[in-house]
């Protein structure tokens, strides 16, 4: 229950609003649910998991009381399996594939995965060991889900692995980009710890291209993995974006996870632009910060919305209002440079564009004004174009071109994984996909380097 009563909102209440929304399963619930799993042969849930976790196996292990084994089975295939237990769109993946959809109701795979990994976190388990050193090294740029996943697998294969992370902590999106009440930072940090304990060196607060040159990286390591994800939020490209009260959703969510919460939004009217998962996060975050009214504006209709269904439901439960077919045209401030109003225009859907989605077209003369105190932009992220260029690898609109089998870029020594390859028909922007990229890139690197070594030996 969100407590944002206008007349009295203490910071303690705001902080409580950011506690994880969903309670984990109790031992009894986990036992009941794990025993309900049929333990299918050639189970469709495994096929549906982008990382191919042996789901019936980890569930059986919960039922038998082998929680360490269960967590290991999960983390074996997915180095960020604890985070994914919370953020995966399970109804579209494993749970959507569960055969019990055809008879009773699907197994709560995500919740069971959380149960097993929560046990491992609570009991401070170290689930994997580094491999015997093979004398070769890999540099990974970006310590998000993709980078961590590649790092862990490479460390297990005996590589000396160094991660360069621009932020103060590794974990990427899981640490900074997903609201605390869905994914607490400690979960992502446990996953980071697991990787560090394999001897992976994580150099934080180092921005490649600024603090260390790309050339140095290329010269230092036998192979390089580019896992930088995406950059800042995109601009609306409308008048008034510099006004006080205009925020970038990525930064907004990050602040809520890294800074003391403030009562700045208590009783305020907030408009979020965009209808992806980050927009939902920004909106529900605003509600929890005490905003009186939160609207999501989207220039297309509900059908084209990119947020997962469960995210949409979550926002609706938080009383977030959705204004479909509405686009911002102008941000209007007062004399102090404080945002006061948002001018919008009604849209209608025209012919499908290249991405197959119907293009929104402004309805002439339909402009109207919404009174606002804050606007949060969540219309997508920009790319690290300069860094990609510094590597001199092929890209299209900031999406790095790769061999879909090996994740190798146009520079055979450089591999690219995670959101940096997303878009332009490549990949899925899911944490779980990033984890799988990392594994596969690690195996490709090993395949290649193992051979070069045996040739020179």
């Amino acid at each position: 229950m969100i407590d944002n009563h206008k007349t009295f909102v203490s910071l303690a209440i705001l902080n409580r609003n950011f506690d994880e929304v969903k309670a984990g399963l109790s031992a009894a619930e986990a036992m009941d649910e794990s025993n309900r799993c049929l333990y299918c042969y050639d189970a469709p849930c495994i096929q549906a998991c982008p990382t191919g976790i042996n789901i019936p196996s980890f569930i059986k292990k919960i039922a038998s009381g082998n929680l360490k084994g269960s967590a290991t089975t999960i983390m074996e295939e997915n180095p960020v399996g604890a985070s994914c237990a919370r953020v995966c769109p399970t109804e579209e993946l494993c749970e959507g594939a569960c055969v019990l959809n055809h008879s009773t109701k699907p197994i709560m795979i995500g919740d069971l995965q959380r149960y097993a990994t929560d046990w491992a976190i609570k009991n401070e388990q170290i689930l994997f060991k580094a491999g015997e050193k093979n004398g070769m090294s890999v540099g990974i740029i970006g310590g998000g889900p993709a980078g961590l996943s590649a790092a862990r697998e490479l460390a297990r294969l005996g590589y000396d692995v160094t991660i360069y992370e621009a932020k103060a902590k590794a974990g990427g999106l899981n640490t900074y980009g997903i609201v605390s009440f869905r994914l607490p930072q400690k979960v992502a940090q446990w996953e980071v710890d697991q990787v560090e304990k394999l001897g992976v060196q994580i150099k934080t607060n180092i921005t490649v291209g600024r603090d260390i040159s790309v050339n140095e990286i290329l010269e230092t390591y036998d192979s390089v993995v580019l896992a930088v994800g995406m950059s800042k939020g995109a601009m609306l490209q409308i008048e008034g974006e510099e006004l006080k009260g205009v925020h970038d959703a990525i930064q907004f969510v990050e602040d809520s996870k890294t800074k003391e919460l403030t009562d700045a939004l208590v009783g305020k009217r907030v408009v979020v632009i965009g209808a992806g998962n980050t927009a939902i996060d920004a909106a529900t975050c605003s509600v929890r910060l005490g905003a009186e009214n939160v609207k999501i504006l989207y220039r297309r209709s509900q059908k084209e919305m990119t947020a997962y269904e469960f995210e949409y439901e979550f926002a609706k439960q938080d009383n977030v209002e959705f204004r479909w077919l509405t686009a911002p045209t102008r941000l209007i401030g007062d004399s102090n440079g404080q945002l006061k109003q948002l001018e919008c225009i009604k849209m209608e859907l025209g012919e499908p564009g290249i991405d197959g989605r119907r293009r929104p077209i402004p309805v002439e003369g339909s402009e109207f004004i919404i009174e606002v105190d804050a606007v949060i932009k969540a219309i997508g992220q920009t790319r690290y174009l300069d860094l990609i260029d510094a590597f001199g690898i092929e890209q299209h609109k900031g999406s790095v071109k790769i061999n879909l089998e090996t994740y190798q870029t146009s520079n055979p020594k450089v591999y690219a994984i995670g959101d940096v390859i997303f878009g332009d028909g490549q990949g899925e922007a899911m944490v779980v996909s990033a984890a799988q990229h990392g594994k596969k890139a690690a195996y490709s690197i090993h395949q290649r380097l193992k051979n070069t070594k045996s040739e020179t030996a």
Partner: protein
């Protein structure tokens, strides 16, 4: 409303559901609560020389997250003075004259002891006696219970001694801890038993604690075998009932006991030759009120089958139970998978592939949909696939048209012998 009244060797009760001699029938308070809840009869917790019980007595076996699939106890007979029990039996009988109260008895295998106790309990108005020759733990170490129940001659002589003085019907309760229960059942019949009841509990050790390595249960770090009962023992008990029911030299009525949890179990026992049933674990797990559905479910079943009296069920399946040598070797069933109902868990495939006859194929149709199919020529009709299938109606065992005449192993051996001679 069908007639649920039964009469076991002269002991009448308003329905076939009795509480077995066990903790639920330890006192007048409990038995009266049970009768109020609807139980038709109760076999009082075994009377004898008072004993001392241990603290920590029961343990259960859970399975697949379900509690009490099996139940184990090391409790002995009543630990209350016989006078107190007799007074409460008297009071209970007075309050519930139409309900069956049977006194379970256990004394040393001596004629005098048996004569004495029989007279004492009959004086307070019990409807019958049940001789406890089955209790497998504790008392058996003192030569009573199962120890005497495992020796047919002792069963016979003790039954005889009781019959010398008993005025009410005598039920002999048999132990399953014996190779062939019909041996002791016959001995009871020879001794003059009016009925037999089975089974008492099976020797058991419920488990071992993985952390302390103590037995479960343990008494100050030590364990001893107990008696096993509950749903898990039902097939063992049902077979014993059926073996006795089909044995021509055991022509006394049977009171069925062992894992009866609901009316369905009761119907099975009655079809296999029980005149009534006795229940303990289910009541211990859920309380006396479970008898309500037992009565209601049985009644609805009988109505649906247009059976006027529950007694019409007794023994109806006994003739269908025989020796393996009489089974038709030319009868064939094969598994058939209904792909409309199948949810594609592939459990049948892997069960058949790994542990049976490798005859269920995982296939993909032209549209790319996966489905399972039985290669009938290789199917031996073992039922394993239908057993592991979680989806009702997805796998049926289909009877194949008969290709050869009925031929059992015994008939075959007989025919072969005739050919040779």
């Amino acid at each position: 409303m069908a007639d649920l009244r039964v009469n076991l060797a002269g002991i009448e009760s308003p329905n076939p559901f009795w509480l077995a001699s066990a903790p639920p029938t330890n006192s007048g308070y409990q038995v009266q609560r049970a009768f109020e809840a609807g139980w038709g009869g109760a076999v009082w917790k075994t009377l004898g020389e008072p004993i001392i019980n241990t603290s920590s007595r029961f343990a259960a076996v859970n399975f697949g997250g379900k509690r009490v699939a099996g139940f184990n106890n090391i409790e002995l007979i009543t630990d209350r003075p016989i006078e107190v029990n007799l007074k409460e039996i008297y009071e209970t009988k007075k309050r519930f004259p139409n309900h069956a109260i049977v006194a379970s008895l256990m004394v040393e295998p001596s004629r005098e002891k048996w004569h004495e106790i029989v007279k004492r309990v009959e004086d307070v108005g019990v409807d019958g006696l049940e001789l406890n020759f089955g209790c497998p733990h504790g008392m058996a170490e003192r030569g009573m219970g199962a120890a005497s129940g495992q020796q047919p001659d002792l069963v016979e002589s003790q039954t005889m001694w009781v019959k010398e003085v008993a005025k009410t019907p005598v039920i002999v309760k048999l132990t399953p801890n014996i190779t062939d229960i019909t041996m002791t059942a016959k001995a009871a019949a020879r001794g003059g038993a009016d009925a037999i009841s089975m089974i008492n509990t099976i020797n058991s050790l419920a488990g071992v604690d993985l952390d302390t390595w103590n037995t479960i249960p343990h008494v100050a770090g030590k364990g001893a075998h107990g008696g096993y009962c509950g749903p898990a023992v039902k097939p063992i008990a049902l077979n014993m009932v059926a073996e006795c029911a089909r044995n021509a030299s055991i022509n006394v009525p049977i009171s069925g006991i062992g894992g009866i949890s609901n009316w369905r179990d009761a119907v099975e026992y009655m079809l296999m030759g029980s005149t009534n049933v006795q229940v303990c674990t289910a009541a211990m797990h859920h309380g006396f009120s479970i008898v309500e559905d037992m009565i209601d479910g049985l009644n609805n079943y009988l109505d649906e089958k247009k059976i006027l009296s529950v007694t019409e069920l007794i023994g109806k399946s006994v003739e269908k139970y025989s020796d393996w040598g009489n089974l038709d070797l030319n009868y064939r069933v094969v598994a058939k998978i209904n792909t409309d109902v199948c949810i594609n868990c592939n459990k049948c495939h892997i069960a058949c592939e790994d542990t049976a006859h490798q005859c269920i194929d995982m296939l993909t149709d032209l549209k790319g949909n996966r489905y399972l199919k039985v290669r009938e020529v290789d199917c031996v009709g073992c039922n394993l696939c239908a057993i592991v299938c979680p989806e009702e109606g997805a796998i049926s065992m289909i009877e194949l048209p008969r290709e050869k005449i009925t031929m059992s192993w015994n008939e075959r051996q007989h025919a072969l012998a005739n050919l040779k001679s």
